[in-house]
């Protein structure tokens, strides 16, 4: 039997764009009652308005690569609204270095459009062939080139969203500098679809570098690798990425440590970086330094962007994100590594060595993983789970502990989504 909502949605988007088979869109084992795939921003807004009228909770869905993130939904029935048909290029002015695209476009597609003009949006989100722009922004996921170019926070110049009632609103514009009105981009970015559904986004772009280079520096001890990172920080050098990899690639021993450095810029500047960085790595005790390592090493940048982001939750595996002050990274990782060793867990680390961000993957039995996370949180409250089994996601504090300003955040949520329809229960707030 078709519900009223189902009928209305079918009329709106057409039968072929509505499905009652939720199996492909399960979230921690919870199945949506309907999956609707609107073909335009207006259709999406009207779909949202219909759900609002029925007070039906909604899960915005892009490429589905980050739906493991967060707690299980607090609602028993919900509708998935997919942005995948909103995949159009809206405006691209290569000579202005700006672009506007719909939220369902994949990062991979966007990269291709830009590459044709020797330009780039250096966000390096994992799984670019599936990751949509909307999902990338809602999760504020970062990439290895964070030290060189920042994150979406620095490159997003305009946004259009559909709010919980179905209202469409925008902020920002198509210029690289703009203080006309509040910076709503910052509000929606990283809000995990709990305040509004992002339907299009404008970015400022960068020219592709004239030259690039990668150095893979092997170290026997974390301390030596971090001494190298500290030397880079104190220097005039400006590498695009400085990635600390421990236990990667998967085939390597858990104790394998590689500092993978990417340099981008003018040819002479790249050569200078390679020279200086090689010397600094050796000075810090690197056991080997290799320029542009061969693919067999399993450390291509595209792979590195993916390593810490599993697409499925594997029993006996936990994937999480750590955030701390950049200078505290080495010590924080040491404490967590020690804890993992004592509990007999296999730990792999992918850290942005200059930025205070790390992605951790742990393998062990569920009981031990639970114990480790709880103990780890007591030592370092700013952890969040990015992939865990439904049981652990339901039970553990997914977003870490000891948060400040929850009441204020609740007030924002209350103002934007008083009926708790957008991704209810999944994020820290709402």
């Amino acid at each position: 039997m078709m519900s009223g909502l189902q009928q209305q949605l079918a009329e709106l988007v057409g039968e072929t764009n509505l499905s009652a088979d939720g199996a492909a869109h399960a979230i921690h084992g919870q199945l949506p009652t309907l999956v609707v795939t609107p073909g335009s921003v207006e259709e999406l807004a009207q779909s949202m308005a219909l759900c609002y009228e029925a007070r039906m909770p909604v899960v915005p869905w892009g490429g589905g690569t980050r739906q493991l993130w967060g707690r299980p939904l607090s609602a028993t029935s919900f509708v998935v609204i997919k942005t995948t048909r909103l995949n159009r290029l809206l405006t691209y002015e290569p000579d202005d270095l700006t672009i506007s695209v719909e939220a369902g476009m994949t990062l991979g597609h966007l990269d291709q459009l830009l590459a044709a003009n020797n330009q780039m949006l250096p966000l390096d989100a994992p799984w670019p062939e599936r990751t949509t722009i909307g999902g990338l922004l809602a999760t504020a996921i970062d990439g290895p080139r964070r030290p060189g170019y920042g994150t979406a926070r620095d490159l997003l110049i305009g946004i259009r969203v559909v709010e919980a009632t179905g209202r469409i609103s925008k902020a920002g514009g198509m210029v690289v500098k703009n203080v006309s009105g509040f910076d709503m981009m910052k509000l929606y970015l990283g809000s995990l679809g709990t305040l509004a559904i992002i339907v299009s986004a404008n970015f400022k772009l960068l020219p592709q570098p004239r030259a690039t280079g990668t150095l893979a520096c092997s170290f026997a001890q974390p301390a030596a690798a971090f001494a190298f990172a500290e030397a880079i920080r104190a220097s005039y050098l400006t590498p695009a990425a400085v990635e600390y990899l421990e236990g990667w690639p998967v085939e390597a021993a858990a104790t394998t440590i590689t500092m993978l450095v990417r340099i981008e810029g003018l040819p002479a500047a790249v050569e200078r970086h390679v020279r200086d960085l090689s010397g600094m790595a050796a000075h810090a005790g690197a056991t080997a330094v290799q320029r542009d390592p061969p693919a067999e090493l399993g450390l291509a940048w595209a792979q590195v962007a993916n390593v810490a982001h599993p697409l499925t939750a594997t029993p006996g595996e936990l994937s999480l994100r750590l955030s701390c002050l950049p200078g505290a990274l080495e010590q924080t990782l040491a404490v967590l590594r020690d804890l993992a060793r004592r509990q007999g867990l296999l730990l792999r680390i992918d850290a942005r060595a200059l930025s205070g961000m790390a992605y951790l993957r742990l393998v062990g039995d569920e009981e031990t993983l639970r114990g480790w996370y709880t103990a780890a949180l007591a030592l370092h409250p700013q952890l969040s789970l990015i992939a865990a089994t439904p049981a652990l996601a339901a039970e553990l504090p997914v977003w870490g502990v000891a948060h400040a300003n929850l009441e204020l955040m609740q007030r924002i949520k209350q103002e934007f989504d008083p009926d708790r329809l957008l991704n209810p229960g999944r994020y820290l707030v709402g």
Binding site: G173, V175, N178, V179, L187, W399
Partner: protein, 484 residues
Amino acid sequence: MPHTQLIDDLKRIVGPNGVVANPDALMTYDADGCVMDIGEPQVVVLPTTAEQVSGVVRLAARYGVPIVPRGAGTGLSGGATPITGGIVVSTARMDRILQVDTRNGRVLCQPGVINWELSNYLKPYGYQFAPDPSSQKACTVGGNIANNSGGPHCLKYGITASHVLGVEMVLPDGQIIWTGEGAPALSGYDLTGVVTGSEGTIGLVTAAWLKLTRLPEAVRVVLALFPTIAGASATVSQVIAGGFLPAALEIMDRLAIKAVNDMYRLGLPEQADAALLIEVDGVEDGLDDLLADVTAVCWRNGAIDVRPARTLAEQNQVWAARKNAFGAMGRLAPTYYLVDTVVPRTRLPYTMEQVGRISAEYRLPIANVFHAGDGNLHPIILFDRRDSSQNQRALEAATGVMQVSIEQGGVISGEHGIGVEKQDYMTLLFSTDDLAAMAGLHQSFDPNDLFNPGKVFPKGRGCGELAALRRAGVAWESLKHGVN
């Protein structure tokens, strides 16, 4: 309650030296750098701690008197102007740099620290605070945060928002909160991000962790002179489109050149209609190649001279001329009105042509000194305020500049903010729904409109009203009709 009671209560919080109530002294606070609007405060307080600010805010809430945060008052949109009276909270006495933490790439300061002093303080450590408004010798970091200010080097390093790691602020209910301290990607909403650029309407910043930026190893500065402003603008467009990444690209036109020549004896040729200041920075290697490439673009666009600033002293002199150009405007006319808008960079040559047309149409000279690399124009309308016809024409010319900028796909403010100056132009850019979303954010912080009321949102479209409209789901109703 009587005024004297309020003053006594304030004195109890900030001490007798922290209260300014003498009418003559209050006049200093009746406007910011934008003299188009004025409003006299009831009283000014100069707190020294967040706790004092909180006390003042609670008191204001009790009396129902607005709070107007104020840094150095160099703002150009009336942001610090007490347009509806109230208590001006000046951060002048909260001017200490508290901690430089190079290992974590951050510095902790109070809001009243002067931008220039901060960068000077950081120099021996090998760092800078990258946002460098031309007013940096006077403006405060609190004002920079509130306005999300820019500066010449933001072309490469990004605007203030990219350099604020976390703030301590007093909310309109008197609560003191910290939004972060430098760890990236905290769970929860980005409160640091939303308070930056909120023009003192949702929180009063009482301390901030700011990001340190390494000073570059090498810097090159050249000044390219053009016979027309079109040539300089086209050069900027092509440098950007060509994928060069200079640190700064600033244009000064003939009027501005004349003013700074008079003041700084730069000896720039006054037959040049425009000077383009180009800076590139980074590691030494490759920098000369980059500069040669950029210079080639200048020649292709008809430059008449390209003068390198070879020594640090020469570089400083060129930059001083640029950054003090507004100050030199006093030599050209009794009053100036600076209009801050942005256009896509390919639209710069055409827009500058239109600015010339507007100058002719309204019979007022317009000087131009601007952040060309970002497409951020600053036509400076020169007039005499005492002449009401000129006054009127200046306002109309400013509206013309905004209209042209919007037509060209641009916006009404790149860095100076909306304040009172541009609040009524917001509807040129934003729909009611757009404004209502902003009002929603505002209301979740300041439901009683205590902080800097009557700003940013269009007059007669108060944010309370907009937010109510939003809650009533007006747009949703119209959508529903669309479905049926």
